[in-house]
């Protein structure tokens, strides 16, 4: 029983971790918290839905296209909407992020209507047993994809020149400018990467849940919970926080009450911010004000 829960918890947590990591990329690069991030997740899944169901394209190609499209969208949002008001109050930045997300949601609804859509069964169905644990191939694929993404991210950030540049900007924006890095272009790229990762999250989440425009809200709050728990701005924190959140939801659901699953994330946010705002791995973070 416990082993089964842990396996499912990891699979669920991996998704939260992915979305939280995507938000952390954007946050670290620009110290902006993207309140529209849940809608980027939804948008990624939706693009795949359009391509697979309506245009009949193969799933993998659709997924790739969605990720590329969302990358471009992220860069465009940064250049056109965020950059011009970066010097302004944090309130305006939060609003802009919300507005962009809301627009995406509206756009989806224009095509979609008000219905909940079943996502095409693109992942293999069925289950198999490993010892006492029931495994679904889809779970393995989800967890595997997340681990692969995190691994690629880690390699890029810690072992390449781009990664050094990224760390430089994260540690000191002015310092990066002093050594000739085009900070604005870099930040655009990071928004693109964040959006692309969000899209990937959406593509992996949608087959598990169902697809509907309001998918965004629950995803956003869970990503917040993962980031809060792990410590804002910490990549390790976002990953661990996501995993812990996934596990806690399942454990709380199994051992206390299934009614509490939905509020685990909220309680984590409230508890952590009131008791230890820096979370597990965070430093006292600086938010753009």
């Amino acid at each position: 029983m416990l082993a089964q829960l842990l396996v499912s918890g990891v699979s669920q947590g991996a998704l939260y971790a992915l979305v939280a990591l995507a938000m952390t990329v954007i946050y670290r690069a620009t110290t902006v918290i993207n309140f529209g991030h849940g809608d980027l997740v939804m948008a990624g899944a939706f693009v795949v839905y359009l391509l697979v169901v309506l245009a009949g394209a193969p799933f993998l190609i659709s997924a790739l296209l969605a990720v590329v499209l969302l990358f471009a969208f992220g860069v465009a949002v940064y250049k056109g909407l965020i950059r011009p008001i970066m010097a302004g109050p944090h309130l305006a930045l939060a609003m802009m992020a919300v507005a962009v997300g809301y627009a995406l949601r509206g756009l989806a609804r224009v095509v979609w209507g008000r219905e909940v859509l079943p996502f095409p069964k693109v992942l293999p169905q069925g289950t198999f047993m490993v010892g006492p644990v029931i495994l679904a191939p889809s779970d393995l694929i989800v967890t595997g994809s997340v681990i692969a993404t995190v691994a690629i991210l880690a390699i890029v950030f810690y072992a390449t020149r781009l990664g050094k540049t990224a760390q430089a900007v994260f540690q000191s924006e002015r310092g990066a400018a002093l050594v000739g890095i085009n900070v604005s272009a870099f930040q655009g790229t990071m928004w693109g990467i964040g959006a692309a990762m969000a899209a990937l999250g959406g593509i992996l989440i949608a087959p598990v849940t169902l697809l509907y425009p309001d998918l965004a809200a629950s995803t956003l709050i869970r990503a917040f919970a993962a980031m809060t728990l792990g410590g804002f701005g910490s990549f390790l924190g976002a990953a661990v926080g996501g995993m812990l959140l996934g596990l806690s939801e399942l454990l709380v659901g199994a051992y206390i009450s299934s009614k509490l699953i939905d509020i685990t994330a909220y309680l984590i946010i409230i508890g952590v911010l009131l008791i230890r705002p820096s979370g597990l791995f965070g430093r006292q973070a600086v938010v753009r004000v």
Binding site: G88, M96, V98, L107, F224
Partner: protein
């Protein structure tokens, strides 16, 4: 440039411009004669959202805190009123007052993290979580709320008169909204409102001038909750159906939009914003998605090109509002 003002002139806070609080509502008294039942319903809904905007703006615009619990204040007010009307058959005005007070208490509660030093995006996130938590409470406190089905509020009765039509409700709403706006305006134009804005602009300086900042933050949150709680109460009376999904994140975004589009820190702006954001979607309601697109577009345009919101245009068009309302 502002015209120079004669030092001997009466202070703006007491001048003849106060009359606008009574002139506009009086002018509105005739409105129902031009409306059918549906358009009257929209006007009533606008009145509800006027309070939503005015209340939210106190915390967001006047106090300058990024607190996103407005949908929770709204829901708590609506549920308090609906529960009292449905289960306990409490008189209408009493039930509405209870909704307001419940909202005010929720406001004071939400101020706690602020007093713990949580600000900016962190405050936004913790208050978002609070709002979602409340939604879970609505769903699960079934004894009172009837869960996700929601409560069906009985037909409102005022002193023995059944408020059967939208027009009848309109007059009740107009009186309540007018009184609350007048009170809010009084508050914001006093030393209390100044203290809110001093905290927003420069917390350290405010403290160094002897403003007890913690006390005023609680006060601002509580008043904001009170006003929005009243809006929730009126919503329950208007729609007569109170269910959890009416107070979700999407609802919050509309509230946010009203304040942004109207103009941060502007009471007049909140009113205009409420009109704009309630009417526009109603016109588009048969086209799913366009409502969201429209609201998002308005927000983006305002943020990029009109940071002061529609209130800026209002101010340019007439100097009346600058003098009437404390802050534009």
């Amino acid at each position: 440039m502002q015209p120079s003002i004669d030092v001997t002139a009466p202070p703006t806070t007491g001048g003849p411009s106060r009359r606008i609080f009574w002139i506009i509502p009086l002018a509105l008294l005739g409105l129902p004669f031009f409306l059918n039942d549906y358009t009257q319903y929209i006007v009533n809904l606008i009145l509800v959202y006027v309070l939503v905007g005015v209340g939210f703006n106190i915390v967001l615009g006047n106090l300058g805190q990024l607190a996103f619990a407005n949908a929770a204040f709204y829901g708590i007010g609506a549920y308090a009123t609906a529960i009292l009307l449905y289960h306990y058959k409490v008189p209408l005005l009493l039930a509405i007052a209870a909704g307001s007070i419940a909202g005010g208490l929720a406001g004071a509660l939400v101020c706690l993290p602020v007093l713990r030093g949580i600000r900016s995006f962190y405050l936004a996130i913790i208050t978002l979580a609070f709002g979602e938590l409340m939604r879970w409470v609505y769903i699960n406190a079934e004894t009172w709320t009837l869960g996700s089905m929601g409560l069906h509020v009985p037909r409102p009765v005022l002193f023995g008169w059944v408020l059967a039509t939208e027009k009848q409700k309109f007059y009740l709403f107009l009186v309540i909204v007018t009184l609350i706006i007048a009170a809010t305006s009084n508050l914001l134009r006093s030393r209390v409102g100044r203290a809110f804005m001093a905290i927003r602009d420069n917390e350290l300086a405010a403290a160094s001038m002897g403003v007890p900042t913690a006390l005023y933050m609680v006060l601002a949150f509580a008043w904001s909750g009170f006003v929005v709680g009243t809006a929730g109460a009126l919503y329950a009376v208007l729609v007569r159906q109170v269910s959890p999904e009416a107070f979700n994140l999407l609802e919050l975004i509309v509230h946010f939009g009203i304040v942004v589009v109207g103009g941060l820190g502007s009471l007049a702006g909140s009113i205009v914003g409420a009109v704009a954001l309630t009417m526009a979607p109603e016109l588009l309601r048969d086209l799913p998605g366009y409502e969201e697109l429209m609201i998002a577009l308005m927000m983006i345009l305002v943020l990029l090109f009109l940071p002061g919101g529609l209130a800026t245009l209002l101010e340019r068009a007439t100097s009346l509002f600058r003098q009437t309302y404390y802050r534009d």
